[in-house]
Symmetry: D2
Subunit: 433 residues, 4 copies
C-alpha cells in the first residue's frame, strides 16, 4: 500500500469517525449506562474482523462504585434498545457492565500495544442556541440534561477510526493491538474494574488519549504528566424534621450540619508534601421553608499530588463530616463514589511516539513531559502496565474549543479528527518490538 493509499484510507476512516462522533453526541450516555455506545462499538469492531470481548469479561463487577440505581440502569438500557443499540451485543452490558475490549492480531510478530479511549457523557444541559454548532447542525443531545461535554464522543469515534485503519493494514501490524473502550471515566469509576479484569496485564505499551484540555488544534502532546489522585465522596446527613416555629428544639438540622461541614471541609490543613484540593460540588438539603431539614446530600471530592495526600485529605474530610454529625446530632453516610490515582508518563515512550509522527505535515509535536492538574482514572491502567514492566503515556490530541470542558457550549474542532487518527495509527504501526 502506498502512502497515498494510506492517506485515502485515513480520510475515509475520519469521515466515518466524524459521523460516528455526531451520532454519539446526539445520544450521550452517562457512566455505566453506555449501553447504546458500547453495543455500537462492539458491532463495528466485530464488523472490522477484530476480536471483541465485552461486559463482565473485561470488567471486574465487584470493583465498580457509584453504580446508578437499578431503575436508572433499566431505563437507560431500554432507551438504548429503542434508539438503535445493537441487539446482538446489548445484553452483554446489562447491569452496567459497559466495557468493550477489541483485540487485533497483526500479521507480524511483535509487542502488545493498547489504546485506551473512554465513552461516557456528563450530566450537563446542552446549550440550545444557534451559536452552538451541535444545535445548529442538528446533532445536539437528544437526552435532556446529558451531554458529551468533555469530548469522549470524539475519543470513541477516533478509537473506531484507528481500528478501521489498522484493520485495513493488519498485515503491517506487528504484534497485538488492544482497543480499550472504557466506560465511566467521569467520576473515576471505569478504569479500575477494567484494570482488575486484567485487560492490560500483557501490554508493553499503553497510550491513553484525551482531546483538547487546553492544547490547541494540530498539536500533539505525546507524554503528559501530573494527574492528581482523587477520591470522590457522596455524603448524606440524616436528621429529624420539625416545625421550625413551633418545636425548633425537636429538629435535628441536616442542612445546618451540612453547612457546618462544608465550611470546615474547605479549611482542612494543606499538606506540605504537595498540592491538594477539596471541593464540595453540590449541596441539596431541606424540603420546606419552615421545616427543619431532615436530610442533606453533598457530592464532593478531594485531590492530591500523590495518592498519600489524597488519602490524607479524605481522612480529614471524614473526621470533619463526623464531627458535624456529632455536633448536630445527625447520622452521616459517607460513600466512596469513585477514585483516580497518579501515574507518570514514560518519557521514552513519548519520544518514540514523537519520532513516529515527525514527518506529518502541519503538526506541532510536543514530545517532552508536560503537566496537567486534572484527574484521570486511566492512571490505574497506566500504573498496572508499568508494574508489569511495560511503559505507558497519557497523550493529548490538541483541539481548539468553543468553550471549556464541562460547559454547556463545549464543542471540539472536528478537523482535528483526521490527523489524530493518522498520528495514532502511524504510531502503532511503528511499534515493532
Amino acid at each position: 500500500m502506498t502512502m497515498k493509499d494510506f492517506s485515502a484510507l485515513v480520510a475515509d476512516a475520519a469521515d466515518r469517525a466524524i459521523e460516528t462522533r455526531r451520532d454519539l453526541h446526539k445520544h450521550p450516555e452517562l457512566g455505566l449506562t453506555e449501553f447504546r455506545t458500547a453495543s455500537l462499538v462492539a458491532r463495528r469492531l466485530s464488523d472490522l474482523g477484530i476480536e471483541v470481548r465485552t461486559g463482565k469479561a473485561v470488567m471486574d463487577s465487584a470493583s465498580r462504585v457509584g453504580l446508578p440505581p437499578e431503575e436508572e440502569l433499566q431505563r437507560c438500557y431500554e432507551r438504548a434498545a429503542s434508539e438503535g443499540a445493537d441487539p446482538a451485543f446489548l445484553p452483554d452490558f446489562e447491569g452496567g457492565h459497559t466495557a468493550v475490549l477489541g483485540i487485533l492480531k497483526g500479521g507480524k510478530p511483535g509487542p502488545v500495544t493498547a489504546l485506551r479511549v473512554d465513552m461516557d457523557a456528563l450530566p450537563i444541559l446542552e446549550d440550545d442556541t444557534q451559536a452552538h454548532r451541535p444545535h445548529r447542525e442538528g446533532f445536539a443531545s437528544a437526552h435532556k440534561g446529558v451531554m458529551h461535554a468533555c469530548g469522549h464522543d470524539f475519543h470513541t469515534a477516533m478509537g473506531l477510526g484507528i481500528a478501521e485503519v489498522l484493520a485495513a493494514r493488519k498485515d503491517d501490524v506487528h504484534g497485538t493491538v488492544k482497543f480499550v473502550f472504557q466506560p465511566a471515566e467521569e467520576g473515576g469509576r471505569g478504569a479500575l474494574p477494567m484494570t482488575r479484569a486484567g485487560v492490560v496485564d500483557d501490554v508493553d505499551r499503553l497510550i491513553a488519549v484525551h482531546v483538547a484540555t487546553g492544547v490547541p488544534s494540530r498539536t500533539f502532546q505525546t507524554a503528559v504528566d501530573g494527574h492528581l489522585a482523587s477520591i470522590k465522596l457522596d455524603v448524606r446527613f440524616k436528621g429529624r424534621a420539625a416545625h421550625a416555629g413551633g418545636r425548633p428544639e425537636e429538629g435535628r438540622n441536616a442542612l445546618l450540619g451540612a453547612a457546618q461541614a462544608v465550611v470546615a471541609l474547605y479549611g482542612i490543613s494543606r499538606h506540605h508534601a504537595g498540592a491538594s484540593r477539596i471541593n464540595v460540588g453540590t449541596l441539596h438539603a431541606g424540603s420546606g421553608r419552615n421545616v427543619i431539614a431532615d436530610e442533606a446530600t453533598l457530592v464532593m471530592e478531594v485531590r492530591g499530588d500523590t495518592a498519600e495526600i489524597a488519602e490524607y485529605m479524605a481522612k480529614r474530610a471524614r473526621a470533619v463530616l463526623e464531627g458535624a454529625a456529632l455536633a448536630q446530632d445527625l447520622e452521616v453516610e459517607i460513600t466512596t463514589a469513585g477514585q483516580t490515582t497518579t501515574a507518570a508518563s514514560d518519557a521514552s515512550l513519548g519520544a518514540e511516539i514523537a519520532e513516529a509522527v515527525r514527518d506529518m505535515p502541519d503538526l506541532n509535536v510536543v514530545p517532552g513531559l508536560s503537566r496537567t492538574m486534572g484527574s484521570e482514572d486511566a492512571t490505574f491502567l497506566m500504573r498496572r502496565v508499568q508494574e508489569k514492566g511495560g511503559r505507558a503515556v497519557y497523550a493529548v490530541v490538541g483541539s481548539d474549543l468553543a468553550s471549556g470542558h464541562h460547559t454547556p457550549d463545549f464543542d471540539i474542532e472536528e478537523s482535528d479528527m483526521p490527523w489524530a487518527i493518522e498520528a495514532l495509527a502511524r504510531t502503532i504501526l511503528s511499534f515493532k518490538e
Copy 2:
C-alpha cells in the same frame, strides 16, 4: 324553621362539604394557582344566590409577592381548565389573582360579619400507602408533589357549607356576611393583597378559622392568640464556576458562601423582648462534583413574637447574607417571598362566639385566649378590622389528626365537619348588632 329543620339543613350541607373537601383534596393547587378551586367556589356561591367578587376586584395585584413564574401560572391554569374548572369564572383569576369574596345580604338590618378561609395546598408528595385514607378511598392528590397537607381543603369546603346554610336561612341573617376565600396562606402571600383591596374595611366582626393545630376533635377554641410575625426570604448567591482541580482560585464559590451564611444565620443574637425564630428550609447549590459552584439558593424565614422582632431578625439576616457575599466575592439577591404579622384575638368576641354555641351537645368550647406559635397571614385581615374599629378572632375547629400538619400522611377527621358548619352558622346568626 324549626331546630330540627336546621339540623337537617346542616347535615345536608355537611355531606356536600365533605364531598367537596374530597374533590379539592384530589385536585390540590399551590398558592396563587388555585384556579380550579376559586372558580368552583365562585360558581357555588353564585348558585346559592350570593354576590360574588373575584380576582383583581378583591386582591391588590401589586401587593402580591412570591408569584410563581409565568409558565407555571399558565400550566396550572390549563390544568384547571382541563379538570373541570368553571369556565365562566376561570378567566377572572388569570395571572394568579385567585381570590373570591362572597357577599350575603341578610333579611334584617345588622352588622357586617366576615368569615375567612383559605384555599391553597402545599408542595408535599402525598403518602401512597393503604394506611392513608385519601389514598385508600381514592381521593389522594392527582397532582404529584402537591398536597392538601394543612387542611385548607377542609376550610374551603366548610366555608361553602356555612354559606349554604346561611343562604337557606337568609331571612334570619342580620346585616351582611362576607365570605373571604383567600389564596396563598402558605408563604403568607394572599391575605395582604386582599386586605389592601379593602375587603374587610367595613367589617364589624371577623372570624378567621383553622382546623386542628393540635386541638382535638369536637373542641372549639373561639379566640386563639400568639401568632408569630414572619418574614419569608428567598436568597440567591451568584458566583463563578471554575475547575476545582485546575483553577480553584478563579472560582467564586456560591456553595461555600451559602454554607457560611447558613451557619451565621442560625447564630443571630436572640432578642430580649420576646421569642424569635430563624430557619433555612432548603439549600440547593452547585452543578458537578469537580466544579466550583456558581449558584446557590436558600429558602428561609424569620419569625418573632412581634413584628419588630421579626424585622430585627430580617435586618440581621440581610447583613449576614451580604457579609457572606462580600467574603466569597459573590453577588446576592434577597427577595421577600411572603410575610405575616401578629394580631391579638378579641377576648370579648371569643366570649360572644362561645355563648352562641354553648347549647351544642358534645362540643367542648374553649372561650379564653389560648396560644399558638404558628404564623398566619390572616393577621393582616385581623389587624385591619381592628384598626377600623371592629373586632376579630382567630378560631380553631379541633380535629384529631392522623399525622401532623405539613406531613405526607396528614388527614383530618371528617366527622368534625358537621359541628363546625353548625357552630359557625349559629355564631353568625347570633350577631344582631
Copy 3:
C-alpha cells in the same frame, strides 16, 4: 424607742454603712477570695452581739465549683492579712470558704427571717478618670483589675447596717433573723454550697436583695421574678502545635476548632418553651503567628427561662463542642464553672413587705411581681425555703447609676443607703409570726 430615735439610729447606721461600702469598694475581692470582707463582716456582727458562724460550718465545701487555683487563694489570703483582715476570723475562711452567717435572736417569740446579701467583686479594671466618683474621692479599687462593679459592696454594707439597727432594737424583734453573707454570686458559685449547708432550712421568710438593676433611686421593688437559669461552662481544647508553613498537616488546630465551635454554639436551636441565651464571653487561643495553635480556652454560659431549657442548651452545647473536637482531632475538656436556677418570688410576701414600708416618705414602693432577665444564684436559697414550706422574694433597692452594671465606671447613688436600711429593718420588725 420613739420613731425619732429609730430615725437617728438608722441615720447613724447608714453613715457607717456608707463608710464601710467605700472601704469594701477600695478592697474588692473576687468570688471565694473574700477573705478580708468576710473577716470584717464576722468581726462587726460579733461586735454587735450577733452569733456568728463561718467557713465550712455554713458552706458545703464539696459543692463549690470554679474554685480559684491554690496559689491564687494563697495570694489573696495574704493580701487580706496585710490589708487589715480581722486576724481572729481570717483563718476560718482558708481555702476559699468565705461565707458568714449571723444569727440574731429577737426578744420575742416569732418566725425565722433571713436576709441574703452577697460580697464578691468582678474582674474589671476600674475607671481612673476624674469623672468617676470612687476615683475622684479616693476610694477606687486598690486591687488592679478587680472592681465592685455590681454593687455587692453596697449589699454587704447595707446588710451590716440592718444588722446594726436590728441589734439595737433586739427586744422588738420577733423570732430569729439570719443574716446570710454569701460569697461568689458572680459565676453562681456561692449560694448552692450555703444552701446545701442548710443555712436556710428553717427559714419562714427569705428576702434576697439587689441594688439598682435598672430601678431608679428611692424605688423599692418588693418581689421580682424572672431570673433565667444559667449554666456556666469553661472549655479547653487541646491540639498539637506545628509549624504552619513547614508541616501544616501535622498540626491539630485548637484555635480553628474553637472558632468552629463558637460559630455552631450561637446557632443552637431555640426552644419553643421559653427564652434561652448562649454566650461565649472570652476566647483565647494560640501562641505565635506561624504556629498552629495547640490550645484554646472558652469561657461561656447558657441561660433559659426554666432549668430544663438551660439544661437543653447545655446538652446541645456539649455536643457542639465534642463535634468540633472530633472534626479537628482535638481533645476537649468541659468544666461546669457555676450554675444558677430559677425561682418565683412569693407575691404575698412581696405584699407584706410593701405594707411594712408604706408609711415611709418619698419612697416609691412597687409591690407586684416584676420581671428581670438576669441570673442569680440566690434562687437556690429561695427554692430551698419554698421547698421547706417558707416564702421567699427577690427584692430590689433602686438606685440611679452612673453607668451600667459590670462596666468600669459603675457607681451607685449612696443616698439610697439610708432608706434601704430603714425599709428592710422595718420590714423584718414587722414579721411577727
Copy 4:
C-alpha cells in the same frame, strides 16, 4: 600565616563566640528592641578595627512595620542600658533602629562580599527544667517570656567570630566584606528597611546564613531554596459590649465575628500555581462570661510559593475579614505587620562555597539546591543583590537540636560553632574577583 595559625585563630574566635552566644542567650531582645545586642556588636566590630555604621544610616526608618509601642521601646532601651549595653553606641539605636553594618576593607583589591546574620529573639517562655542546658548551665533568659529559640544568638556570635578571623587576616582579604547584622527577622520586619537603605546595593556575593532548620551537625548546605513569600497581618475587630442575658440584641459580637472569619480564612481556595499557606496564630477576644465581646484580635499570616500567590491569599483574607465584619456589624482594622518574599539561591555561588570548604575534615558539604518551606526576609536582601547583578545564596549551618525551632527547650549544639566560623571565613577568603 600557616594553616596551624589559622586553626588557632579560629579556635580562639570560636571560644569567644560561644561565650558571646551565651551572653546573648541570657539577654534576649525582641525584634526592633535589640538595643543591647546591637550596641555590643557595634562595639566589638569597632574594636576589631572594622568600620561601623548604625541605626538610621543603615535602616530606612519609614519602611519599618510592626514597631513596638513607644513605651515598650523605652522600657527595653532602659533595660539594655542597665544590663551593660555599650553607652557609646546605644543612642544610635533609639526608637527601634537596631541595625548594624560592619565594613572591612581587605588588603587586596577584589569584590564586595556580604554576610548577613540576624539578632532578634522570640516571645517564648524558656524551659526552666534541668533537662534544658541553658537553664542547667546558668545562661537561660533573664527576660521572662523572651527567648532565643531560633538560634539568632548563635548567628550574631558566629558573625562576630568570622569578623574576628577576617580582621586578623585582613591582608589576605580581597575586596570588601560587609557584615550585615539585621534586627527583627522574626515577623519579617528588619531586612526590608536595610535593603531600602542600600546596604547591599554594591554587593557581588551575599551569603545569608541560618543554623539548624533540620540539617544535622557538621553539615553545610551552601544553597538552599524555596522560601515562601509571606504577609503577616494583625487584625482587630471592634463591636459593642452588651449584657448577653438582658440585651443580647444590642451587642455587636466581635468574638463571634472573629470566629466566623477564622473558619472562612482557612477555607480560602488553594491556588493552582503553587503552594499556599494560611494560619491564624492567635485569637484573643472578650472580657467576661456574660458580656458580649466587644473586641477581638487575630495575629495571622499567609504564605505562597510566589509573591503573587501570597498577595492572592492576602487579598482573599481581607475580603473574608471584611465580610465577617459586615455580617456581625463590626469595624475591622487590618494592619500589615511584616512581609517576606521569595528568592532563589544561585547554584553557581553555592558551588563556589562548596569548593572553598571541600578540604575541611569531617564536614559534610551539600552543594546542590535544597528546599525549605520557611519564610525569611533575607530574601529581600538576596533579591536586591541579584537585581543589581550580584549573586546570593541562603546557606545553612547544620546543628543537632535538643528540640525544634520556636519551642521552649530549643538549644543548638555549640560544637558546630568552630567549623561554621572556619567555613565561612575560608569561603570569604576564597573570593578574589
